[in-house]
């Protein structure tokens, strides 16, 4: 019997943008088990809902995560709007869809860069982030913020975007799409990249289902599930089919994300073609009462917002289940049996956002 050693991974590690600690039990170079500990950046944001009124809480919900901030804010608004029984205007729904997809593109590009960094491909990392910068510029022009959009609002959206601006965005996105394709083909065809990703961290379809994986982690394992299929915002009018890969390894997850960027550009194009002039918000009347589950698809996977109102301006309870938290169990399953050198790549392929997971 060989000796077992425990190697600590994180909370400070070059590949981790945020703190999570894994105790890796290794036998020679092989990881036998990974024991996680989380809780380094718990901020108690769910409790704060009792002290901030339901309109002001949008700002807090947006700050749960720095990358998928808009979708957090939007999902919170969706849950409160259902409690208030508000009907959101069409134009606001389309704008919400456009901003959600822009945030998906920038999040996936950020992830591609970090992944390239994790296997030591620095110049690919720089190229991914260069394109992301242009997407952030579009976001800044339309919402005023770069990562914290501040565009979500209970009852609609805070800003309108002119049709001239929308056409400009589409032209720019088509150019960026070509650049993303160039970078994407390096990820998908380069020998060194393939060598680090193919067959690494395999999650079978049965495991993905039973362990409750979400997002690209689930779709990379061959399960066709995406919350956008439920048709929230304007996805119902546009029509949506998820991107699915069957291999279940790191390469499949990367491919899902690269194809999703192209899909997001197509969704934005359809939105811009279909969007009509009209109001962007409705007046908020009454106080939230009752309870509601809102489910949306973030770049990292499915997010669930549970809100319970009691007829006052403060919600009684709010609960957020973020995609990273759901993906931790599948991550531990994929780490079992892998090589120590592959751990950073596998940890990154779930797209960990720890401040999301701990709220």
């Amino acid at each position: 019997m060989s000796n077992r050693t425990i190697i600590p991974f994180g909370p400070q590690h070059p590949v981790l943008p945020e703190p999570i600690h894994l105790d890796l039990v290794v036998e020679d170079e092989k990881v036998v088990e990974a024991i996680p500990s989380i809780g380094f950046i718990h901020r108690g944001l769910e409790k704060l809902v009792e002290k901030k009124d339901f309109i002001d809480f949008v700002y807090v919900a947006e700050r749960i995560c720095g990358i998928c901030s808009y979708i957090h804010g939007m999902t919170y608004c969706m849950s409160v709007e259902q409690l208030l029984k508000l009907e959101i205007p069409d134009r606001a729904q389309y704008l919400r869809t456009i901003w959600s997809e822009l945030s998906r593109i920038h999040s996936h590009l950020l992830w591609l860069g970090l992944t390239a960094d994790s296997f030591g491909f620095e110049s690919l990392f720089m190229q991914s982030w260069r394109i992301r910068e242009s997407i952030l510029d579009i976001i800044e022009e339309t919402t005023g913020g770069r990562v914290i959009f501040g565009a979500a609002k209970v009852g609609g959206v805070r800003r309108d975007v002119s049709s001239v601006k929308l056409d400009e965005i589409m032209k720019k996105l088509r150019v960026y799409q070509k650049e993303i394709n160039t970078i994407g083909s390096v990820f998908l065809n380069d020998t060194t990249v393939k060598h680090r990703m193919q067959g690494v961290g395999v999650l079978s379809q049965a495991d993905a289902k039973s362990l409750g994986a979400v997002g690209p982690m689930l779709r990379g394992s061959g399960v066709s599930q995406d919350m956008r299929m439920t048709g929230y915002a304007s996805y119902g009018k546009i029509g949506f089919t998820p991107v699915v890969e069957t291999a279940g390894d790191c390469y499949a997850r990367t491919k899902v994300r690269i194809l999703e960027i192209a899909q997001s550009v197509d969704i934005i194009q359809k939105c811009i073609e279909q969007i009509k002039e009209g109001p962007i918000e409705v007046k908020v009347i009454g106080m939230p009462d009752g309870e509601y589950f809102a489910r949306t698809e973030q770049p990292r996977g499915e997010v669930i917002y549970y809100a319970k109102g009691n007829g006052t301006k403060f919600l009684q309870r709010m609960r957020v289940r973020t995609p990273t938290f759901a993906n931790l169990a599948p991550l531990l399953a994929t780490l079992r049996g892998c090589q120590l050198a592959d751990v950073p790549v596998i940890v990154l392929t779930i797209d960990p956002c720890i401040s999301c997971a701990e709220r």
Binding site: Y59, S123, E140, G144, G150, T182, I183, S185, D190, T191
Partner: protein
């Protein structure tokens, strides 16, 4: 050839201009809708305090007697809520960010 995929990008990079802006020589212009810092026209303000009530971070404090409008720049999240509710439209959200500062303090405005 798989190795040439990145080679093309690298070669293009080598002969093109840098993608970053040459900052001190080329001035960075913020887009018109950017959320920088809140500015006030104290002459138009009636010190009603609606902005203070609507501020989600309690960064704004107004007093009627004496007439003072105060903002804590470090608390302000530039969310535009005060600008949206101002009845006299004396608040504007400037595209420029407030300058860095080493100590905490507030900016006060009087008519």
């Amino acid at each position: 050839m798989s190795i040439l995929e990145m080679g093309k990008v690298v070669l293009k990079n080598l002969f093109n201009k840098p993608v970053t802006e040459r900052y001190p020589f080329v001035k960075k212009e913020y887009p018109s809708g950017a959320r920088g810092k809140v500015n006030i026209d104290p002459a138009k303000c009636i010190y009603c305090g609606i902005c203070q009530r609507k501020c989600p971070t309690a960064a704004i404090v107004t007093t009627k007697e004496p007439k003072v409008w105060t903002i804590d720049r470090m608390r302000c999240i530039s969310c535009n809520a005060c600008v949206e509710v101002c009845p006299k439209k004396c608040l504007v959200l400037d595209v420029m960010y407030s300058p860095c500062s080493a100590k905490q303090g507030t900016d006060s405005f009087r008519p």
